[in-house]
Symmetry: C2
């Protein structure tokens, strides 16, 4: 029997006393010159392969530096797809390496489509594909982010795979960006004409119900939600609507959200949320007097320790 | 000066007298055994590479058979990502091959994210990435499908790339699946409390306005919309809201929509929409008494000719 995704995540949060998710968003021009040069020497005639190699080496450095400190990492696939199939291979290899170091993984891919296509995405990111009678995993992430715009039949194929594999998904509910209100804050009529709710709240209700059939021993669903730290009021409302949903919280640090902003995302005892930071950790060396580019891993480790320290107060929440 | 995406599409529709978009959604188990065996022989120790090779060969057969008949093809990336990086390479090679045969391409990827990440996706699918001072294109599609849930700042980075490259995007507005109403049909309050509009209509208004600054000579924006043929009433409403937006219309054939259902998607003279069919064309051989699996390309050609014939009445719309 495979352990439930939410139980795996929560037990790792407890073991590592950390609610931090490290985003792995490589920016090619910020990868140390030493790594880039070595990659180019290895693939002198293929810039894509060289870029993929540089990204993987950089990520391995970050992962080695932080794997004992946090429960989970989240590579954002856009920054890999920029480098074509070689970039996607680096994405797959990064997930594999993180797993080998005891980290859970979130493929931040924001996928979704109609039923049969959603099934293909679920197989690609969480499950296996049968080729010549052999079942092989394309990416084998522990979880993947998905968009809600197509409704339940775009979510169900992911849930079916989660049930059989102990994997999870995070559905976008309230995103951290400035324009997130364009659609997510629309006033939706619920019940009688007089009652309205913002669209993100309606999506929150949907997400909580979509996950209700698959709750782990720790009381959380394998269906999580993306809730931006940049909207603390909305997060508080969603926390009340979605008691059994784990929040993946972007927006801390580089996007401007503070500790106070992320607190409403948590339930008692520091459970129910993980807080992501990408740029601030990956390229911590840039803002440091102590570290140069070649010390990116040490700078990242120091930044994660600082972030764990800042966030440890969530474990005292009651 | 690069020609505007909508002009390129509309001129090709006129030249080929076809509003058909051929979806390229390979299903590994439906690819003829002869192609699969040859691919396996070429890559005996790498099932992913063998699958990628089989997919590419199959797609090349389809493209060769239909390139003179239709303006545009649309590979759905989920069916490639199932095969990992090798599948993604087959996706890139399929786009390249289609382009070499004079076809426009839609990367059906339904991507989106917050600003900086949307920028990375736009570079990946439509633009170029700079590696070691060299500007290279990861996928080089003519257009890509995107989701609207994050609002304008998830769309703008794509529009910026479109403006410089003559590329386009198709934003999901009303999707063809059964549950599309879960979110898309929510009753949204507009103006006073008494006036409401379904969410897809609000998104339609947004999409029309998002594209309003970039209209080509033929009167259409480089921002198109995905509008499912399975909801003809909603399509009619959207056609009125979005006069300068080209509709990409899924749902014809395998998903049940008929000619009558797609008619409301068109403006006068058969303009303003393209109708996608994937499975019915790719695997036309399965439903044929005349063709076996090895004749998949001839069966696909016959099916496309039939579909062009069925849809030619749209050119007489006034």
């Amino acid at each position: 029997m495979t352990e439930h995704f939410s139980d795996r995540l929560i037990r790792s949060i407890r073991a590592k006393k950390s609610v931090v998710c490290v985003g792995l968003d490589p920016r090619f021009d910020k990868i140390p010159e030493s790594i880039r040069a070595a990659a180019r020497a290895k693939y002198p005639n293929d810039v894509f392969a060289a870029a993929g190699e540089a990204i993987l080496r950089f990520n391995m450095g970050i992962i080695d530096a932080i794997s004992d400190l946090v429960p989970v990492v989240k590579p954002q696939i856009a920054f890999y797809e920029m480098f074509g199939a070689a970039g996607v291979q680096a994405f797959a290899d990064t997930l594999k390496y993180a797993k080998s170091k005891g980290l859970l993984t979130i493929a931040d891919a924001k996928r979704n489509d109609i039923g049969s296509t959603a099934e293909a995405y679920a197989q690609a990111f969480l499950g296996t594909t049968e080729i010549f009678g052999e079942k092989v995993a394309a990416f084998d992430a522990d979880s993947v982010t998905v968009t809600p715009y197509l409704g339940w039949d775009g979510i169900k194929p992911f849930m079916d795979v989660c049930k059989n594999t102990g994997k999870g998904i995070f559905v976008l509910v309230k995103t951290s960006n400035k324009s997130s209100g364009d659609l997510q804050d629309l006033k939706v009529v619920t019940g009688t004409q007089a009652e309205t709710e913002p669209a993100f709240g309606v999506v929150g209700h949907f997400a909580e119900s979509w996950g209700a059939d698959d709750i782990g021993e720790e009381g959380y669903s394998c269906l999580g939600a993306v809730v931006g730290a940049t909207y603390p009021e909305q997060a508080k409302k969603l926390r009340a609507i979605m008691p059994t949903t784990i929040f993946l919280v972007p927006g801390f640090g580089a996007q401007g959200a503070t500790i106070d902003d992320v607190l409403p995302c948590f339930n008692a005892g520091g459970m129910g949320a993980i807080v992501n930071s990408s740029r601030d950790i990956n390229f911590a060396y840039e803002k440091s007097d102590k570290y140069g580019a070649d010390d990116f891993a040490a700078a990242a480790r120091e930044k994660v320790i600082e972030m764990n320290e800042q966030l440890k107060m969530v474990f005292d929440l009651s």
